[in-house]
Subunit: 326 residues, 2 copies
């Protein structure tokens, strides 16, 4: 399915993956005229930096073999909003309401003082069941839950420019990975539908698993033990464990992505680090525009010194969500 | 590189990966006549069972989507010999000789009594360096070390019938993974050359990693802490963490592979479990022919009840090593 889409994309917008491209050209001797692969990106330095990077990777003396064209994407705040609360927290709170209908949300979020705190909320909703049971629960939730501001399924409230960027990179031979602090199995349920990222390309935080043989057959049980926190310095660790190669492009939005961008961009050859800066209070959110303490400061300061590209959502993105243009 | 080879294989021996196949057929309207994809396998029930499985996966009402055609292969004793000692142990002993030239091999293997035991040998040679340093050491060793019986590089002392099986599955749309008790980064160095299995498809035991920023740039340091023992019940855990899907075909040779075969074959749809039984003392080894206690007993007994295919190396394999037929 995904490979079919990649081949179609390749035929439509042109690509120079040498393996796919050769066959595609043989089948279609008159190539379609080149179209803008990033129509939701306004013209300017940001878009140009992305296109220049892809040119360097795919053409000339600096070109990178297809098997090393690895691109890693943070999720919350990079591919979809993390406001008003991260989606996985919304899931956990909804689950707690189902499991504990007598408690109210404010009490749950209040932390101490009789309520459950956030760690307890996550633990109570993420472990103690099989991987199949957890996936079923997430699948049912994501199919019915609605994003609170735009009143649509979460998988539709994703950044259209980033979908185009994912497709553009894939059409140029990149493999695209999700690398997020979110729990791996939570994201695997919907990442393919939302972003075209397959389960085996989802790298997230991990809970322990235990193999058990039950009367109905073997299962994997999710344990109350965190095996990897895939955030900050944990991101390069998760990437190395899963891929075994250093990426050449990394996309993030917060200090949780600092080490991933640092690891990706501090080696030789063409490298791209990019930060999504949330500057559009009208169409999305502007929670780091006023440079409040913490949050983006370290990564944003570093971006100048390290040559990381900063996306100004308000100015660089013509469209933010797919449903805007419909 | 690998994708190019898959496309070529597809053109040469025929395949019905619907995405690749469609393009290949468009480019080459006169398909080449079908050749035996498994020439080193003698005709018989074992070979037939493999071909029947691939037919069921790729044709008719039971066919499996390409993205779910996941095949997992144990390494030692399944893709290459594990006698006289597993290759990774040979590496560790050679490294100890370099690091401690005053100790002799027998002392090292003796365990207690003043020598280093095997766990210490592995610890002393596998951790305390960066991932890049470890990979460099393994790369240098595997390029120069010789398998003691056949006096060739280890990467040439691999089972020819299994190489054909890997290529046959890939030509039919499968993704092939290495799932071994061996350490992940040790295997990643040479698995692509030996088997065509890319680093991101190597799942093994894992040591802890720590991200550090040094004056020369960031590194990942290998810690003296085992994060996953990818053996027995650890194999389904490693598979789920890395892939997030249940395989439909599993290949092993020992009780270390029991749970991997059980997990793979106990779900609906076409499933294949296969055990390599070492029965050829002349061309390879016959270390489990006499049914000594332990080793294969549980998996072999289970094979009848569970419908797992048992390869009798002496009778089922026409050729064992690639260099035999040259």
């Amino acid at each position: 399915m995904i490979r079919a889409l990649a081949l179609l994309a390749c035929l439509a917008i042109g690509c120079d993956d040498p393996t796919v491209g050769a066959v595609a050209n043989a089948a279609a001797p008159s190539p379609v005229a080149t179209r803008d692969p990033l129509p939701s990106w306004n013209e300017g330095a940001t878009k140009q930096a992305i296109e220049d990077f892809v040119d360097r990777v795919t053409r000339g003396t600096s070109s990178v073999p297809v098997e090393d064209r690895i691109a890693v994407f943070d999720n919350d705040g990079t591919l979809w909003p993390e406001q008003p609360i991260p989606v996985e927290i919304a899931f956990a709170l909804d689950r707690i309401k189902v499991l504990h209908p007598d408690r109210d949300e404010h009490e749950l979020l209040a932390g101490s003082g009789g309520g459950l705190d956030l760690v307890q909320v996550l633990a109570a909703t993420h472990v103690g069941m099989t991987t199949d049971e957890f996936a079923r629960t997430v699948k049912q939730w994501i199919a019915t839950a609605r994003e609170p501001r735009f009143k649509r399924p979460y998988t539709e409230v994703v950044y259209q420019p980033m979908l185009e960027l994912l497709a553009y990179l894939r059409a140029n031979g990149f493999t695209t990975y999700l690398v997020s602090g979110g729990e791996t199995e939570f994201m695997r349920v919907w990442a393919e539908r939302a972003y075209g990222i397959e389960p085996e390309h989802v790298i997230g935080s991990r809970v322990g698993l235990q193999y058990q043989v039950r009367a109905t057959g073997p299962v994997l049980v999710r344990l109350p033990r965190v095996d990897l926190v895939d955030d900050k310095a944990g991101k390069p660790v998760g990437i190395q464990q899963a891929i075994g190669k250093r990426p050449i492009a990394a996309f993030g939005n917060s200090d949780g992505d600092f080490e991933m961008l640092e690891w990706t961009t501090s080696a030789s050859g063409p490298r791209l680090g990019l930060l999504v800066h949330h500057t559009d209070a009208v169409r999305e959110w502007a929670y780091d525009r006023d440079a409040r303490a913490g949050a983006l400061s370290r990564a944003l300061v570093a971006s100048k010194q390290r040559g990381w590209v900063v996306v100004d959502m308000q100015h660089d993105w013509r469209t933010i969500f797919p449903f805007e243009s419909r």
